[in-house]
């Protein structure tokens, strides 16, 4: 309860009222608590993020099944975790997923032979509905669980199911009307026989739709094996094909992420010279070093900017001045995010080493758009080992970083950026091992401050939780959920970085 409401409650009051209300006013600014009757817990809050912009949080909780209806409570919170909307939504069907696109929620309800997409605005008002009928219950079940991709502020893209290899992409707006539909290509007469495209949405905004395309042979000796992967860019307004990007294994490029800007698309990731992607380890690869790449395309598909670091000499040039302790020579980089501020790009990454089976320091690379060589910043942290995780060593070297990311070995959590993009903070967690037996959790940030400096502020948690989970906050802030096993207690606390 905030200060002025406390004043209202105890104003002119006698002591009795102070006694009765003392529990209600004991909440300090830093700790976040939620109304008990809303069913909101720290495990069911979803950040509402568009790119790196945090818009708020929501929680959609099931209140149960009564009178032939499933009842859900949609609670919308602002970036300070204060409730701005609280609505009950009921349906005769269970909800399978809910996705937010910046202005609207799309809730997917699944019946036996149809799927309903219900679109609600942030006031909880139904804006539109879309019903997809199926003859086969398995297809409706499958569609309801497919990734529903948000198109910021415009609509959503669903993956429609058909028999066999047939699936299609369809964008619908907030009223549920179809904006466009993309059917996969079907090639015949290739050396591999009949080849079919399998589409997978990577990212979309109101201008571009980037889709991962896998060409798979469906007949002949290579049936059901993939033949080629690449990325295809569509016009998100019309669904028309614009151009292709080949950030692919064949070129030695491991795609880590895509950033969509007005009239530009950037792809970034790891570079494996020679495209030797089949090897299991760095050793098998003959000790070759993996590098990194960044490519930026304009709206016509013309490459505007390219940075390729071969991992060998290029990496020495880039990191040569970094102290030995901070840079492990055989380390690869997993690039978690690419952030743009003004005309500069910043890669936020984390190093890992196949040789020592460790996840290593945080790294930030600052690119002047017109400048080929970036400036590197390395931020030391505790070096945990990942080698003990069963099965991990068997992954292809090319995919090791990806699997480390998926299995949660990296410390990086998320990046948030302010509206004018003058500052950002990439958040990671780590351990403070300076005092043996008294390890503390660190929440760190690779941040660009208001003066344009890359800084590394840290918050050392005074508590000793058994588990820590970090929620995105607005730039410079972070909400930390801490689990205390012995006390059976979970707390959520908002912190502000000192930068």
């Amino acid at each position: 309860m905030d200060r002025f409401k406390q004043v209202i409650v105890v104003k002119k009051g006698i002591l009795l009222m102070v006694c009765v209300f003392q529990l209600a006013v004991s909440i300090v600014a830093q700790n976040i608590s939620f109304p008990q009757d809303k069913g909101i817990t720290i495990t069911n809050i979803t950040p509402m993020m568009i790119e790196n912009d945090l818009l708020g949080y929501f929680a959609c909780t099931s209140l149960g099944y009564a009178k032939s209806e499933y009842v859900y409570n949609l609670v919308v919170m602002d970036i300070n975790f204060k409730i701005t909307k609280d609505k009950l939504i009921s349906s005769t069907m269970p909800m399978k997923q809910i996705v937010f696109n910046g202005s609207h929620f799309c809730m997917v309800f699944q019946a036996t032979k149809y799927v309903i997409y219900a679109i609600y605005d942030t006031e909880g008002v139904l804006a539109g509905e879309k019903r997809i009928d199926y003859k086969d219950p398995y297809q409706s079940a499958s569609e309801a669980l497919q990734t529903l991709a948000p198109v910021p502020y415009k609509g959503f893209i669903r993956l429609g199911m058909q028999y066999g290899w047939d699936s299609y992409l369809e964008m619908f707006d907030h009223t549920g009307d179809v904006v466009w539909k993309i059917d996969p290509e079907f090639y015949t007469g290739t050396t591999a026989g009949k080849v079919r495209e399998v589409l997978n949405v990577i990212k979309a905004n109101e201008q571009f739709l980037v889709v991962g395309v896998t060409l798979a042979a469906v007949t002949g000796s290579d049936a059901k094996t993939r033949t080629r992967d690449f990325q295809r860019v569509y016009d998100a307004q019309s669904g028309a094909t614009l151009f292709e990007i080949n950030a692919t294994a064949g070129n030695g490029l491991r795609l880590h992420g895509v950033v969509l800007e007005p009239d530009a698309i950037s792809v970034y990731g790891a570079y494996f010279p020679g495209g030797k992607v089949g090897v299991l380890s760095n050793e098998q690869w003959g000790g070759e070093k993996a590098g990194i790449y960044l490519q930026t395309y304009d709206a016509s598909g013309k490459m505007k900017f390219e940075y390729i670091n071969d991992g060998g000499r290029d990496m020495q040039t880039l990191l040569g001045k970094i102290k030995e302790a901070e840079y492990n020579e055989d380390a690869c980089m997993w690039i978690h995010n690419l952030v743009k501020s003004g005309e500069r790009y910043y890669m936020i990454g984390e190093m890992y080493s196949d040789k020592s089976k460790t996840v290593r320091n945080m790294i930030a690379l600052e690119f002047e758009t017109a400048q080929a060589k970036p400036i590197a910043y390395v931020f030391q942290k505790d070096i945990p080992e990942f080698g003990s995780r069963a099965g991990l060593v068997a992954f292809q070297y090319y995919n090791l970083g990806y699997n480390l990311m998926k299995l949660g070995h990296f410390g990086y959590k998320f990046t948030s950026q302010n509206k004018d993009h003058s500052m950002f903070a990439g958040i990671y967690t780590n351990l403070d091992n300076t005092v043996k037996g008294d390890e503390k959790t660190i929440v760190g940030a690779i941040a660009l401050d208001r003066d344009g400096q890359v800084v590394n502020p840290k918050i050392i948690l005074a508590t000793k939780p058994d588990d820590v989970f970090v929620y995105p906050g607005k730039p410079g802030y972070v909400a930390v959920a801490e689990y205390f096993k012995k006390e059976k207690k979970v707390t959520l606390t908002l912190h502000k970085f000192d930068f």
Binding site: K11, M17, V20, N418
Partner: protein, 475 residues
Amino acid sequence: MLGQDLTFDYQPVRLLKPSDQMIEEYMRRYSEWGNSTAIEDSKVRTTFKKFITQKSEFLSALDSMDMLIYGDSMTDLVERIKDIIIAGNQNLKDVEIKIFIYRSNEANAFSLGEGLILVSTGLLARMPDVSQVAFVLSHELAHDAMNHVFLNLLHISESLHEGEMKRTFQKASRKKEGRNTEINNVLNNFMAVQMAYSQRNEFEADSQGLVYFQHAGFTLDGAIGALGVLDSADYLMFEDTLDLRHYFSFDGYPFKSYWLDTENAALQWARDTTLYMIPDSLKSHPDCDVRIQRIGELAATDSEQIIVVADEAMVMEKLKDVFQFESLEGQLMARDYVMALYMSLQLQTLYPQNIYLKSVTAHALIELAAAFSRNEFLEYVEFADMNYPAGYNQMLTFLHNMNSSTLYKLATYCLQDKLGSVPGHPYIGFLNTLNKHKDDITPEVVNLYAQQYKDDYFTGLLRDKAKSPLPASRK
């Protein structure tokens, strides 16, 4: 404090407070309430005793935080007004009544029972008229005379253990669907009953207080004026935005426009205000409009012998701003550094040369910077909120755009540019020591300060900081 030149400096009345014997005596009396009351039900008696303990602890906490003021010219004034009321009401003559003033920005007064009444500096600062203060005191005297505090505690203790309440609560707890909502409804209903009882007592105190008030020779407009002040006193006294560039732009460190960037403090969505409203049924006091209407109906014709309080009015006028300075000191004592910073800057619009106000500004900046370094910043600095006045939200916005180094720099420039030419001032000396050593105050630093300035209060503050150094990992 009368006689201080506020245009130049201010010395808070830190040493004039109720004696330890006084506080102990009241705590002893409250303890007797718990021991000697004839409540038969043991559970009710235990709950009642718990409430009494809380009451004693509350008084003790206010005293230990040095929030209470007694024996100064502010208390003298309020005591004189009380004496006027008692002089006009024979039935109050044998009652022992004591008034403590407490430092708080809120407009508040309450009776604690046993003849003890607490009045806040925030209330006195808002009431320009002696008769308005007289009505507030009459109201609290009525609470005391009608034993409302005791009866309220007894009522809530009995209600908590009432069989029907327990059954309803257990029934709600057993529900499978909508249990939380049901429990919430039960608790709200319980609170509504308690608040209705409390509101009834307030009407009674208004009614009886009005009799005391008019018998003393005050006129009805004073009572209406007092309720009018209370009605509009939900907010800070100062609401306007400040020209922060004026205070925080220096030759060597100009004001940066992003310090007022609202993005960090702004809300992203239109708030559903209904979610945060407290219904009238859950408020301890009736709406002031209703109270004004009621006393208008109850009031007798004003006495022909209207009391003349010219001397008191003159003292009150002189103390008007002193109440605000003491409220400000209270914010510092309560470690509400944001409010202290805000009030010190607002008061500087009235007293731009006042050394105390400039010192409080620097003090708040240093303490907030230190809180930042300790990762405690958000324990002190809230986010802007639609319920807060524009000026306070601007202050919060400004602070959310700071970091510890900027706050320390601003404090340093405030000390150099605005206070650098004042020699030998203990408060400024304290701030310079704090700013120089930050969280590393050692006993040697304390001794050095004590020798140079010979000021017990600030030496004590430094000593407290030296006693609780931060662990190495937090530095």
